[in-house]
């Protein structure tokens, strides 16, 4: 790992001013993605701004009807939070299956969505639940946040401070984990609300996406059987050593049916 200057400000303003105008500065949250990247020298920031000392960035609360999770909240804390387990159990369950316990003790929700790994779990929940991403300067709807592989709507120097989740009537997440890394080879988040059904797919394509055919079929009838005649176009999905695109397309439908079944069982 190349050497760098380490900063640990205690306010959001302090973070923002350290990042401002400094292209070679990087935020570090749990470091579970950034440190391995730096070890491989795929990233070599001159300045590392540790946001773990900023008060108020970690924690779970309700704000009216919205579940608010601070950016620095660790996966393990989301999984074990009484509030999340009661209000949005699908999210607690998703968090409990990210990587392994040691990853969950360091990795954060803000880091996961800012990184936007195409096989990460949280982006599926954020997009499927139509959450809002709160940054130091604005609020970004989930539909605009995930731009492309490892790319988000965040501007240089902008940081995520919290994610606000509206509560669905029914929701569940089913993933087929890569047996080695636990990242999703296909993960499907389904959510039914008063406004309709949203379905977000991770792990299968070059980035998280909404599956409109599945959404339409489930809006018609929210049960796994409604998906019997639906398939997903494999041509835009990923192929790699773990699975080709045809296999991933098949997995997506299997996970979608499973998620609908789980949502109905839980609801």
């Amino acid at each position: 790992m190349r050497s760098f200057n380490y900063h640990k400000p205690d306010t959001v303003d302090g973070v923002v001013s350290l990042l401002a105008g400094n292209e070679n500065a990087s935020v570090i949250a749990g470091g579970m993605t950034l440190l391995p990247t730096m070890k491989q020298r795929l990233a070599a920031p001159d300045d590392l701004v540790d946001i773990s000392g900023v008060a108020g960035l970690a924690g779970v609360s309700m704000d009216g009807d919205m579940l608010v999770i601070g950016a620095m909240t660790r996966h393990a804390d989301v999984a074990e939070s009484e509030i999340v387990r009661e209000k949005l159990p699908a999210l607690a369950k998703l968090a409990s299956r990210i990587g392994d316990q040691q990853v969950r003790h360091r990795g954060t929700i803000g880091g996961s969505i800012s990184n936007n790994d195409p096989a990460a779990d949280y982006p599926a929940a954020v997009l499927g639940l139509n959450a809002e991403i709160v940054t130091d300067k604005r609020t970004i709807p989930a539909d605009e946040f995930f731009v492309a592989m490892f790319e988000t709507a965040l501007e240089p120097g902008e940081i995520v401070t919290a994610i606000r989740f509206p509560l669905p009537e029914l929701a569940a997440y089913a993933k087929f984990p890569n047996p080695a890394s636990r990242y999703a080879m296909a993960g499907v988040f389904v959510a039914k609300t008063g406004d309709g059904v949203r379905v977000a797919v991770t792990g299968a394509g070059p980035g998280v996406f909404r599956a409109s055919d599945i959404e339409a079929a489930l809006a018609e009838s929210f049960d796994a059987g409604a998906l019997d005649r639906i398939s997903i176009d494999a041509s835009e999905l990923m192929s790699d050593i773990h699975a080709d695109n045809e296999y991933r397309a098949h997995l997506v439908m299997v996970m979608a049916r499973r998620a609908v079944g789980m949502a109905l069982d839980a609801g």
Partner: protein
């Protein structure tokens, strides 16, 4: 940078470069070589230590980020040279290791599991060990050891 933290119940103050990993600090600078580095890529769990009571991978943790914290390595499990921690004793009694390379990480992970779940089932133990890889034992005796170690920890508390 100067950092201070509690290591195995003793306060320490050391000077580190910000890019130093906790695994390197304890092994190279503090000569506690019980923490092993197997993969150095956050996969194998040989380097697991406790930070403020939580099991974490010390190869993927900057030493500077434990400033002010409480770290325990495998050397800090037993308070004297004679008695092993009940989990260590259980690994010994149940043949829970062969080459021993993964063992420090297995112990630190297992003790954290018992803290969360004092009476884990075999399935829960296997799930929890997701982040710990062993190339020798086939896990069977590790699981057996953890069941025995958990029982001993319950009896001791």
């Amino acid at each position: 940078m100067e950092i201070s933290f509690v290591l195995n119940d003793e306060p320490v103050t050391v000077n580190v470069d910000p890019s130093t990993l906790l695994s390197d600090l304890v092994r190279e600078q503090l000569s506690l070589t019980g923490t092993h580095v197997g993969c150095d890529t956050s996969q194998c769990g040989a380097c697991v230590v406790h930070l403020n009571g939580d099991s974490v991978k010390s190869c993927t943790l900057l030493a500077v980020s434990v400033d002010g914290g409480d770290v325990r390595t495998v050397e800090g499990l037993s308070t004297n040279d004679k008695d092993l921690h009940p989990m260590q004793q259980a690994f010994r009694d149940n043949h829970g290791l062969q080459c021993g390379f993964c063992t420090p990480g297995m112990l630190m992970s297992a003790i954290d599991l018992v803290k969360h779940n004092p009476d884990p089932s075999e399935a829960e133990i296997r799930e929890w060990l997701e982040g710990n890889i062993c190339r020798c034992t086939g896990y069977q005796n590790i699981v057996k050891s953890i069941i025995a170690g958990a029982a001993a920890m319950r009896a001791a508390s």
